[in-house]
C-alpha cells in the first residue's frame, strides 16, 4: 500500500487526551471524533487536514489513556498514516487492531517539517520526503502483526480464526 500526504508535525509525548479530549468521549460517532481530533494541541487541525495527510510525532506518541477513540479520531479525520520516533504501547496495538497504518522511524521524524510531502510504502516501511528527496527505512512489523494488518484489523483476523 502506497500513501502520499502532507505533514502535520508535533513533538514528544502527544497524549491521547490531546488527540481526543475526554469531554468528547460521550460519543464514539466518527463525525464527532473527527471534528475534535487534535483539538487541545492544534485547534485548527480538523479544519486544515485533508484526506491522506500524515501525522508526524516524536517519542511516545499516543501515551496515556487506552481510548481507542484516539486512533479512530485520527483515522476518521482522513489521516493516512502516523509516523513517530516511538509509540506508546496501547496506541500501537490499537492502531494495528483498527487498521491505522503506523511507522516508527526516528530519522524520518527528525527530517520532516510541517507541510512537507511524504510518500510512504507501508508494506516496505519506506518513507520518502519529497522536499529533501531522502528515503528512510522504518522498523518492519513482526510477521504476526503483519497478518493482522493484512486481514484488515483484529476483528477480521479473529473472524477468520473462529471459522
Amino acid at each position: 500500500m502506497k500513501l502520499k500526504g502532507k505533514v502535520f508535525k508535533y513533538g514528544d509525548n502527544v497524549d491521547t487526551d490531546v488527540i481526543i479530549p475526554a469531554r468528547y468521549l460521550n460519543s464514539s460517532d466518527p463525525a464527532n471524533l473527527a471534528a475534535h481530533c487534535m483539538e487541545d494541541i492544534d485547534e485548527n487541525f480538523a479544519e486544515e487536514v485533508t484526506d491522506g495527510d500524515i501525522i508526524v510525532g516524536g517519542k511516545n506518541f499516543g501515551s496515556g489513556s487506552s481510548r481507542e477513540h484516539a486512533p479512530l479520531a485520527i483515522k476518521y479525520a482522513g489521516v493516512s498514516c502516523v509516523i513517530a520516533e516511538s509509540f506508546a504501547r496501547i496506541f500501537y496495538r490499537n492502531s494495528i487492531n483498527i487498521g491505522l497504518p503506523i511507522l516508527e522511524s526516528p530519522e524520518a521524524v527528525k527530517a520532516a517539517e510541517a507541510g512537507d510531502e511524504l510518500e510512504v510504502d507501508i508494506d516496505q516501511g519506506e518513507i520518502k520526503n519529497m522536499r529533501t528527496g531522502e528515503t528512510y527505512q522504518a522498523e518492519p512489523f513482526p510477521p504476526f502483526m503483519q497478518e493482522i494488518i493484512k486481514d484488515g484489523g483484529l476483528i477480521e483476523h479473529v473472524k477468520k480464526e473462529l471459522v
Binding site: V18, P21, N60, S65, S66, H69, I90, N94, V158
Partner: protein, 421 residues
C-alpha cells in the same frame, strides 16, 4: 533459565514451558474489563465478529464508572447500550451505579483479580492488578471485543526492569511518592514496551493499598505492567475475597532482567509532579515558590482506597479547607464509602468543608464533578497532569499523595503535612 513474573504468567497462559522477550503469544485471559467509555466501542466490534455468546459470562467485567452517575444524555445513552449488552449476554459482573466503584478499586475488592492471572482491560490503569501478582494490562476496545469472543489476546513478551526499593520510608511518604519518584527518574517512556517489577523491603512493607497505587501508575512510565510478587499480605487481602482458585507465579531467582535499578527510599520526600507530565517531579523540599491552588482532589483509581481517605482525614481533622479552595473526596467503591462513613471520616471531611462524592472517575479525566476553569490550578491524587486533563487547556494539575493534597487544601497552596499543625 529462570523467568521474570511476566514471562512466567504469559508462559502459563499459552502452554509454553519457557518464554523470552520478543516472542509473541496468543494467551488465554482470566478476566476482560471495560468501562462506559471503552465498552460501547467494544460492543460494536464484538457484534461484527458474529458469535452468539461471550467466551465466559463470569470472566467479563463491565463497570460504568467514568461519566456516571450519567453526566449528560449522550453518556446516559452509552451506559444504556452497555447495560443492554450485559443483560443480553448475561454478564455476571456488570456493576450498576449503587453497586459500582472505580473499576481498579472495585475489581480487587471483589476478588476478581488474582495472583498469576492475566487481566486485560480497555482502560490504561488495568496495570493496577500487578500489585496482586497478576499481569494486568491496558488494551483498547477492539482487543476487549476479540477477547470477549475468544477468551484470548495477543502479547509481545516484554523485557523487564527490576526496581529494588531499599530502606525505610520517611513519615508521610507513601506508595504514591515512590511511584512519582520512579517516573521522575526513568521518564514517561522509561518503561515503554517493558514490564517493571517492584521489589525490595520498602515494597514488602507497603500495604496492599499502597502497592496498588504504585502498580496503577506503571503506565505513566509507559509500562506494560508493574508487577509485585504475591506474598502473605496478598494472601491475607484475598482470603475472603478470591472468587477463583489461583496459582502464585512470582519471578524465579535466576530470572533475567534488562536492567536493575536500586532506589534508597529513605532519601525520598513527598513528591509533586508538575504540569504537564507525570515525570516532572520535584520533592516538596525542593519547591521554593508558593503555588496557590483552587481545587484539591482526593480519590481515583490511584488513591481512592480506605488508607488514602484515612490519611487525608487525619490531616484535615480539626481544620477547615482554605476559603479559596474546593476540596473534593471520591471514595473508590461503595464499600470504602461505607467504611469511611462508619469510621467517622465523613464527619471530619464535612466539618472541614470538603465535598464527598459517590464513586466516579469524574474529575480525574475532566469528565464531570470538578472541571477546572482557565487559569486554575489543582493538586490531585490522580495519575495524569496532561494539558487540559481536568478541564480548560489553560488549567494546571499537580499530582501528589493524599497527605499533600489534604495539607494543600488547608493552606491554599501546595504544602506538606508538616506545615499543618
Amino acid at each position: 533459565m529462570g523467568m521474570t513474573m511476566i514471562e512466567k504468567i504469559l508462559a502459563a497462559h499459552s502452554d509454553r514451558d519457557e518464554l523470552k522477550p520478543g516472542e509473541i503469544v496468543n494467551a488465554r485471559v482470566d478476566m476482560v474489563l471495560g468501562n462506559d467509555i471503552t465498552t460501547p466501542v467494544a460492543v460494536k466490534e464484538f457484534e461484527k465478529i458474529g458469535v452468539d455468546k461471550v467466551f465466559d459470562k463470569d470472566r467479563i467485567a463491565i463497570v460504568p464508572d467514568h461519566f456516571t452517575p450519567n453526566k449528560d444524555i449522550k453518556a446516559a445513552e452509552q451506559v444504556n447500550m452497555i447495560r443492554k449488552f450485559a443483560k443480553k449476554y448475561e454478564i455476571t459482573n456488570f456493576f450498576e451505579v449503587g453497586q459500582m466503584g472505580i473499576e481498579h478499586v472495585l475489581l480487587p475488592e471483589k476478588g476478581l483479580t488474582l495472583p498469576g492471572e492475566i487481566i486485560i482491560g480497555a482502560d490504561s490503569h488495568t496495570c493496577t492488578y500487578g500489585a496482586l501478582g497478576a499481569l494486568g494490562t491496558g488494551v483498547g476496545s477492539t482487543d476487549m471485543a476479540a477477547a470477549m469472543a475468544t477468551g484470548k489476546a495477543w502479547f509481545k513478551v516484554p523485557p523487564t526492569i527490576k526496581i529494588i526499593y531499599k530502606g525505610e520510608l520517611k513519615p508521610h511518604v507513601s506508595g504514591k511518592d515512590l511511584i512519582l519518584y520512579t517516573i521522575g527518574k526513568i521518564g514517561v517512556d522509561g518503561a515503554l514496551y517493558k514490564a517493571m517489577e517492584f521489589t525490595g523491603e520498602a515494597i514488602e512493607n507497603l500495604s496492599m493499598d499502597g502497592r496498588m497505587t504504585m502498580s496503577n501508575m506503571a503506565i505513566e512510565a509507559g509500562g506494560k505492567a508493574g508487577l509485585i510478587a504475591a506474598d502473605e499480605k496478598t494472601e491475607a487481602y484475598l482470603k475472603d475475597k478470591a472468587q477463583r482458585d489461583y496459582t502464585v507465579l512470582n519471578a524465579d531467582p535466576d530470572a533475567e532482567y534488562e536492567k536493575v535499578i536500586e532506589i534508597d527510599v529513605s532519601q525520598i520526600t513527598p513528591q509533586i509532579a508538575f504540569p504537564s507530565l507525570p515525570e516532572n517531579t520535584k520533592g516538596l523540599d525542593e519547591i521554593e515558590e508558593k503555588i496557590e491552588i483552587q481545587q484539591a482532589v482526593i480519590g481515583s483509581c490511584t488513591n481512592g482506597r480506605l488508607e488514602d481517605l484515612r490519611v487525608a482525614a487525619e490531616i484535615l481533622k480539626g481544620h477547615t479547607v482554605n476559603e479559596n479552595v474546593r476540596c473534593l473526596v471520591f471514595p473508590g467503591t461503595q464499600k470504602i464509602y461505607k467504611q469511611a462513613m462508619n469510621e467517622g471520616l465523613f464527619d471530619i471531611f464535612i466539618d472541614a468543608g470538603v465535598a464527598v462524592s459517590t464513586p466516579t472517575c469524574g474529575p480525574c479525566l475532566g469528565g464531570h464533578m470538578g472541571i477546572l476553569a482557565e487559569g486554575e490550578k489543582a493538586i490531585s491524587t490522580t495519575n495524569r497532569n496532561f494539558v487540559g486533563r481536568m478541564g480548560s487547556t489553560k488549567s494546571e494539575v499537580y499530582l501528589a499523595s493524599p497527605a499533600v493534597a489534604a495539607a494543600s487544601a488547608i493552606k491554599g497552596y501546595i504544602a506538606g503535612p508538616e506545615e499543618v499543625k
